[in-house]
């Protein structure tokens, strides 16, 4: 059962030496209590304390890191079954698959795509996470060559090596062993050799078995071999099997009923015959590494957006700091447009303003991250807030006119804002897409 922070603190060395990464033993104890740290981080714990603390403070799902360099990703360390209970922390790595039977030019093209493609939403660059190379040829040499082709692109992407034969992995690891690739997969037959490779190169290892108890048994076998960084592939033959098995694994891990299942889950989206559905399902239902063939333009944006949505903290909308922002280099006559500090709203409006090429100011008021309509409905957007924001951010020093453009959806407030601020209020369009037309017609007047 979970221990309280103070009980844990009693077992710590109390040196406050900061080597665990925390300023004091007490803060480390608090993190342990919350399942947010690993006992192994403190080098001075007695074996006895370790054994007491180990089982009850370890995060229920182990944190696993794949890849090196800027693009590495971490998965695991989740604490809930449903995002509304707290939040989901580590978005799944979505990894594009190439086969070693493909032409080198094709392999290189997919690698470059994952390296270069970004889709910017709400001020965040969304990207695919890595590249998986599959040993379809059956030849270790061909596999190693394909991995070398990927590495030649200098993309520094987290690699996933997919091969049944440990000899193929051994050949490929010569090329990418120092980049912490994820190895797929250890099975009943080959786990000893796979564990030896994972240990030699210090890489995380996927284990594959079709039932949770099969996985739990293999976890015991692999940890006995000394490999701790594991990822579980429940080998689903269809979407339903994935949904059931991954939910089962997550529940048994979170509740610590079967601690051996406390590892991130791997999903081969291509194996279900319905790749897009599998990617969507993997994102919402607990996959941490999703391997897929390169996605279409539509699926690319939809999947990256779904991942961003599901992994947003439900308690905190993504917010901007309130303040006065500039688009271009506005002068003293430039328009001032007021809006809320919900990031989505800010970036949507900013995008359209940039394309009008009219320099202007954006006055961002603090609605605690609520959108315009939501803030109006919740009473979070008021004339006082607008008045205080004009003062606080010194808008009257920046422009000589006294005209404020407000969002169309805030029109019910226009009269009150005029009264409270003494500024003339112009009610803009509801849809920010029409802002260019509005500025050309109304502002120029």
């Amino acid at each position: 059962m979970a221990l309280k922070a103070l009980d844990i603190y009693k077992l710590l060395p109390k040196k406050n030496c900061k080597e665990c990464g925390d300023p004091t033993c007490l803060t480390f104890a608090m993190k342990l209590a919350g399942g947010k740290a690993d006992v192994e981080l403190c080098p001075y714990l007695s074996d006895e304390a370790k054994s007491v603390l180990g089982a009850s403070t370890r995060p229920p799902i182990r944190l696993i890191r794949v890849g090196m360099g800027e693009r590495f990703f971490k998965v695991g360390e989740e604490t809930v079954l449903y995002r509304h209970e707290k939040t989901f922390y580590h978005p799944p790595g979505i990894v594009f698959r190439v086969s070693d039977t493909q032409a080198p030019a094709e392999i290189a093209a997919v690698t470059r795509r994952v390296r270069d493609e970004t889709f910017t939403r709400v001020g965040t660059d969304l990207r695919f996470s890595g590249i998986a190379i599959e040993n379809t040829s059956g030849s270790a040499k061909t596999f190693a060559k394909a991995v070398a082709t990927v590495e030649q692109e200098q993309a520094h992407l987290p690699p996933v090596l997919i091969a049944k034969d440990p000899a193929a992995h051994a050949a490929a690891l010569v090329h990418c062993g120092s980049y912490r690739p994820l190895l797929h997969a250890a099975t009943g037959e080959n786990f000893k050799e796979m564990c030896a490779l994972a240990k030699k190169y210090g890489c995380p290892l996927v284990i594959r078995a079709a039932t949770p108890d099969g996985l739990a048994r293999m976890v015991k076998d692999c940890t006995a071999e000394g490999v701790q960084d594991l990822v579980l592939d429940p080998a689903p033959e269809n979407l339903g099997a994935f949904l059931t098995r991954s939910t089962q694994i997550r529940q048994l891990a979170i509740t610590r009923l079967v601690p051996e299942l406390g590892y991130p889950v791997y999903l081969d989206a291509t194996a279900t015959g319905q790749q897009d559905a599998a990617v969507a399902l993997g994102i919402v239902k607990y996959a941490s590494v999703i391997v897929t063939d390169p996605l279409s333009p539509g699926a690319t944006k939809a999947s990256l957006t779904l991942r961003q949505n599901i992994y947003t903290d439900p308690q905190k909308p993504i917010q901007m700091n309130p303040g006065l922002y500039r688009v271009g280099t506005p002068d003293k006559d430039a328009p001032v447009l007021m809006t809320v500090n919900f990031s989505l709203t800010f970036f949507t409006l900013q995008g359209y303003l940039e394309s009008t090429r009219i320099p202007c100011f954006m006055l961002i008021v603090d609605t605690e991250g609520l959108s315009v309509l939501t803030a109006v409905a919740a009473g979070k957007l008021s004339e006082m807030l607008v008045r205080d924001s004009i003062k606080k951010f010194g808008v009257e020093d920046e422009v000589t006119h006294r005209k404020l453009i407000i969002p169309g959806y805030a029109s019910p407030l226009s009269g009150r804002i005029e009264d409270a601020t003494g500024w003339k209020v112009l009610v803009g369009p509801r849809d920010a897409a029409e802002i260019g037309e509005f500025l050309h017609e109304e502002w120029k007047k």
């Binding site: 995002r83 059931t244 897009d276 559905a277 239902k285 939809a302 989505l344």
Partner: protein, 318 residues
């Protein structure tokens, strides 16, 4: 050693019947019994538990409809009967959701024409029907009355009741034995309150479908996703005021920036994938009816839903 999942649920989602066949006094070729869930979506052990239904949304007045759909469907959208027929035959929907968008024109008053529209759609397709009436308080009583009457016996699903406007729709549903969509803005407590209001004026539980309101993917979908999960779990834990099936309609999907501004060559694909990813996630969160506007989304969702069922329970009951 086999591990069992245990969520501690104690209750069942109520059932709602959509559409009436000859035997039940209607003219539909099939009717659906939705709801009945006892655990997480797609994890029922009972054989024959239903897959989520897929509804195609159509309308009777095009200026308020995403051009991407009208371009894709071509001429047939000029005739709502033809559109309904295609929804049923060519596109393979389970349900048709008809939006009476003509009522959203300024000073609309031609209520009689709506009766004709509903009759045309009923004649053109024998699928069960969802009808979305007007948003205008001045006429909504007459509009719902008209729809309810023209489709008497058909067990429509009428939309949309909200906390501020539910009386006229409830009156039409009660008078002609139709069911109601009850919509609240992404909030479990508001959903419950509205259901209680409906109960108080006599609408039975088995005549209500909850619409928790769906923000488009990238535009608030995560809130809706969690609201759906919470409503579903409260119901399974025994809250009977929330134990109704849910409908998900991400109506803004085809007008968001990513879809609207997509390259022409990939615009249909963008629209379809946007609806598809939303539909998969919403069904996983508990929605029993998934509404789409792009016909191309239907076959993809159908295939996925069949495959998502627990192996061995995939039989369809219709």
């Amino acid at each position: 050693m086999a591990f069992d999942m245990n969520f501690g649920w104690t209750s069942t989602i109520g059932e709602v019947v959509l559409g009436a066949t000859n035997a039940d006094g209607g003219t539909r070729r099939r009717s659906y019994r939705i709801g009945g869930g006892t655990t997480l979506p797609f994890m029922e052990d009972r054989a024959g538990s239903p897959s989520p239904l897929i509804a195609l949304e159509i309308c009777d007045y095009l200026p308020f409809w995403p051009p991407i759909v009208t371009n894709y469907c071509g001429d047939l959208v000029n005739n709502v009967g033809e559109w309904a027929k295609a929804a049923d035959g060519t596109y393979g929907a389970d349900l048709i959701r008809l939006y009476l968008t003509s009522t959203r024109q300024r000073n609309f008053s031609d209520i009689a024409s709506l009766g004709k529209v509903v009759e045309d759609v009923l004649a053109a397709s024998s699928l069960p029907l969802i009808i979305e009436g007007s948003n205008e308080p001045k006429i909504d009583s007459e509009v719902f009355q008209k729809c309810g009457e023209v489709a008497q016996g058909e067990r429509l699903l009428l939309g949309t009741a909200e906390a501020g406007k539910y009386r006229s729709i409830a009156a039409a549903a009660l008078a002609y034995n139709h069911s109601i969509i009850a919509q609240s803005p992404i909030d479990i407590n508001l959903a419950k309150q509205l259901n209680i209001l409906l109960k108080e004026i006599g609408v039975q539980r088995d005549h209500i479908v909850i619409d928790p309101y769906t923000g488009a993917l990238g535009y608030g979908f995560e809130y809706s996703y969690s609201a759906m999960e919470r409503i579903r779990f409260s119901a399974l834990k025994g809250d009977t005021d929330l134990a109704m099936p849910m409908v998900c309609s991400a109506i803004d999907s085809l007008t968001i920036k990513e879809v609207r501004e997509a390259e022409p060559a990939v615009q249909d694909e963008m629209a379809i994938q946007w609806e598809f990813y939303t539909g998969i996630a919403a069904a996983t969160a508990g929605a029993e009816i998934i509404c789409v506007r792009h016909p191309g989304t239907i076959p993809l969702l159908r295939k996925a839903f069949t495959d998502m069922k627990k192996p061995g329970t995939a039989a369809e009951v219709r």
